[in-house]
Each structure stands twice: as structure tokens, then as C-alpha cells.
Symmetry: C2
């Protein structure tokens, strides 16, 4: 059995501590196992929605006890990378699961707590390949001028245009994205990204501000230019904190609100 400091069995060791760090970078065994499972997820060994091997199987594969695998999976589950279901197994998390529709959208209607109130209607205004502006390039770890996809769309609830979104994606990973694709797919955009491009958004950061729309934005949302809107700038990441999307949403908050739980 491997010692905590030893190289984890099978494939490259997961060195948690970066070279040059002064601390010895002790990494518990379950963290190394977590890293190995993570590699499997990144490599696509198990696709979103699929069942991963049982704890006993993984324990045998990695030559550790079931308890250690359990703790590794516990962390992956707490980060929403996998979902456990008693009696069935552990599944790779997916944005397509009806369980957690719109995992990243925190806008809720003020009344009628039934989130979704039917579904959002989408209207794609634009979808084209262009050179990434400096700000977009920075967020997506591209060089200014590299190819990027840009999508602009409007989400309406109960027929009322409520969200105006600008989405930027790295060109290399989303070659050939079309208006048809964006509009025909039912369900969350992130689910389509998984299916059609193998890109799984795992985590996101948002910066929120109050702004006034410019003339074009006001016209698109069919609101007066004096109506304040929520500006939500989101950077979404795949595995290993690689940024894969920059999205700027303008939210109407006269009938909806952004809900956040602090703990």
C-alpha cells in the first residue's frame, strides 16, 4: 500500500504542491485519488451523466481502501463534479440533468416561487466568429486578436424580454457554432456545450453591478433608458480552472431578483 508521500499508483503522480513552494506539499492519499479520478473526468473516460465505477472497483484499481476512495468522491460531490445516488452509483455531473436546471442562473421571479414559470424563450440575435477584444482575450486566456465566438441573445419569461446576454467563447474549442445550434437546442446552453463540444463548465465567478442600458440595449429589451439593470459578468471554467466562457448578462430586476444564499 502506498504511503501518503509516495507516488500514487497507476499513471502520473498528482503533485499537489507546485515546484518551488517552500512547504513540502504533503498531499493526503485521498487527494491523490481525487486527482486520479479527476484525470478520468477530464480525459472523458466517463462522459457527463454516465456512471463511474463503484467505490470498491476504484479502491481495487488504485490499491487503496474503500474509505479513501469514498473521501475522494465526497469532495468531488461537494464540488458538484459528480452526483451520488444511493443504491445506484455515482454519476458524472451534467448541466442536462433536470434535477438542477440552470445551475448558474440565480435570477428568480419575485412572485410565484415556481422557478422557471414554464421555460425561458430564447431569441438569438447574433452568432459569429470574430477577433477577441482585449478584455475578452484576458478573461479567456487568449491573445488579443485570437479567434472567438460571440453570441448575443435575449431570454424572455412569460413573453417579457428579461435578460440580454453577450457570450464569448474561445474560437479553438467552439469552431462552427451556429445560430441554429444555439436556438434549436432545448435546455441549458451548458448542456449543449457538453454534448456538442465536450466542454463541461464546472465553476464560475460573477461580478455584479447596477448599470443603465445604452440606447441599443434599452431598445432590445424594450425598456426605457432610465431603467437600472443588473450587469452580471460571469467567467465560467472547465476543469483545472481553465476559463472557457465570458458572459455578460443584463437582467431586468423589476419583476425578478438575483437570489444568493450566504453561509
Amino acid at each position: 500500500m502506498p504511503t501518503p508521500h509516495s507516488t500514487a499508483p497507476e499513471s502520473a503522480a498528482t503533485t499537489t504542491g507546485s515546484a518551488g513552494t517552500s512547504t513540502p506539499a504533503f498531499s493526503p492519499l485521498y487527494q491523490q485519488i481525487k486527482g486520479l479520478i479527476l484525470q478520468g473526468l477530464e480525459a472523458g473516460e466517463w462522459r457527463p451523466g454516465e456512471l463511474i465505477p463503484s467505490e470498491m472497483e476504484l479502491a481495487a484499481r488504485f490499491k487503496v481502501s474503500q474509505g479513501t476512495v469514498r473521501k475522494a468522491i465526497d469532495e468531488l460531490a461537494s464540488e458538484n463534479l459528480v452526483m451520488r445516488r444511493q443504491g445506484k452509483g455515482t454519476f458524472v455531473a451534467t448541466h442536462a440533468a433536470q434535477q438542477v436546471q440552470y445551475r448558474f442562473l440565480k435570477l428568480h421571479p419575485d412572485a410565484g416561487d415556481l422557478q422557471g414559470e414554464g421555460r425561458a424563450e430564447r431569441r438569438i440575435l447574433d452568432c459569429r466568429r470574430l477577433r477577441a477584444p482585449a478584455e475578452v482575450a484576458r478573461a479567456l486566456a487568449l491573445r488579443t486578436g485570437d479567434a472567438a465566438m460571440h453570441v448575443r441573445r435575449i431570454l424572455s419569461f412569460a413573453g417579457v424580454p428579461t435578460i440580454l446576454e453577450d457570450i464569448w467563447l474561445p474560437g479553438h474549442a467552439f469552431k462552427g457554432l451556429t445560430v441554429e445550434q444555439m436556438s434549436s437546442y432545448q435546455g441549458p446552453t451548458y448542456a449543449m456545450f457538453e454534448l456538442d463540444y465536450g466542454v463541461r463548465m464546472v465553476r464560475a465567478d460573477e461580478k455584479i453591478r447596477a448599470v443603465l442600458p445604452d440606447a441599443e440595449q434599452a431598445q432590445l429589451l424594450n425598456i426605457p433608458g432610465s431603467m437600472p439593470l443588473l450587469s452580471v459578468e460571469r467567467t465560467a471554467f472547465t476543469y483545472n480552472d481553465v476559463p472557457m466562457e465570458l458572459r455578460r448578462g443584463l437582467y431586468r430586476t423589476d419583476t425578478h431578483h438575483y437570489r444568493n444564499a450566504l453561509s
Copy 2:
């Protein structure tokens, strides 16, 4: 040793399932232990910042294994109710800890990521006892007209008024709160609530909107009435989801932004 279904040892059993539920409400032993520790926290057996008994001691007290206590404490730690420190022990979480200054304030300066940039200067505009308006009463689980404390204050960063806050507190728990108290205490308001009133805010919900200030608000923040602001309506809870504060903040977001991490 107790079986999972048996009444937990020492004091009343923690019945996780509510009466009338169709499910038998099976509650694992570690959840019962968690409930017992929670009772100690609520009762003030250990005060904020204090050390709670070691895992071994608690295991002996509750007649379960150390591992079971560990899992109970793990959950409490993940909910930020206690803080573990290897080699030292487990401490009751407090808003006074310099570790986690302003646990609930998610407004950050745009530049100079050094959060805090010195400290916020506070100016108390008002602090008085009055009858709770309907909306406040609803949020605080009072009856309309019950006594409530109201505080209005301004937070400035680097001399610039940035946040205008209205705070409502249940009158019964915050009798005698004064302007002096609010302004003299250094550090988070929630830390003062712990020290002077024994009220620990454990969790909060926020509803966020973009709004325009009215004339008075604009004047107080020294901004034009056309500048959109973030309206952050926060309900803060003590143990057992008892609401103890309703706070409405107006945030300037031309130099700061509300930051949120999604996962």
C-alpha cells in the same frame, strides 16, 4: 451503544423527521450527535471563539465512536458554525475572527484586490426604537406594530460614501441598542451583536436588484439621482433558521462590485 433509530443518549432525542411526514424519518447517528452539539451552541454552553471539547471527549460524553463525532463536526464546520484547527482544537465560529472579516459583505473594490483597503469608516445616521412596518415584521417573524430597532448608517471606503444601510432588528432581542454602541465598536457589526446581545448570525439570504436612489438617498451618498445602485436585501438568521435581522443596503458599483462564486 445506541442504534441509529434509538433515542440519542443524554437529553432529548433529536427527531430529524417532522411529525406527520410519511417517510419514517431515519436519522443517522452522526446527525443526532450534530443536533446535540448544536443544542450546546444554541444554549451558549460554549461561546463564540471558544474551544469546544475534543472529539474524544464528545465521543465519551455521547457514548459513540470518535469517527461519528468527527462526521458531526465535519458538517458543522462545512456550515461555518465551528472552525477546526489542527493541533489546537475546534472553535465556535465568530464574526470577530480576523480570519473572516465581513463574512457576509461581498462588495469588493474593482482595483487593488487588497480587500478592505484599510477599513470601512462608519457613520451612524439614526438609531431608534419604533413599530415594525408590515414588510419588516414579516421578514423578522414579528407582528406588525411590534417593537423593532432601526439603524441607518453609511459606510465609506477611502473617504467615499459607498454603502447606505437600513438595518431592522427585533426589539425584544436588541433592547437598548444605541448610536454610541453602533459607532464605537471596532470591527463587524455582527461581532458586536455576539458580544453585547448573544445573537449569532449563522446564515443569510440576499435578494439583489438594480435601483435608482430617491432624492434623500442620493443626497446621503452624495451622488446624482441618475446613478444606478445595487439594492441588497438581506435576511440574516440565527440557529434554527430564526430570522434576526433585515438589512437593506444600497451599494455604489462604479468603483466596487458584488462578487459571487458559483459552483
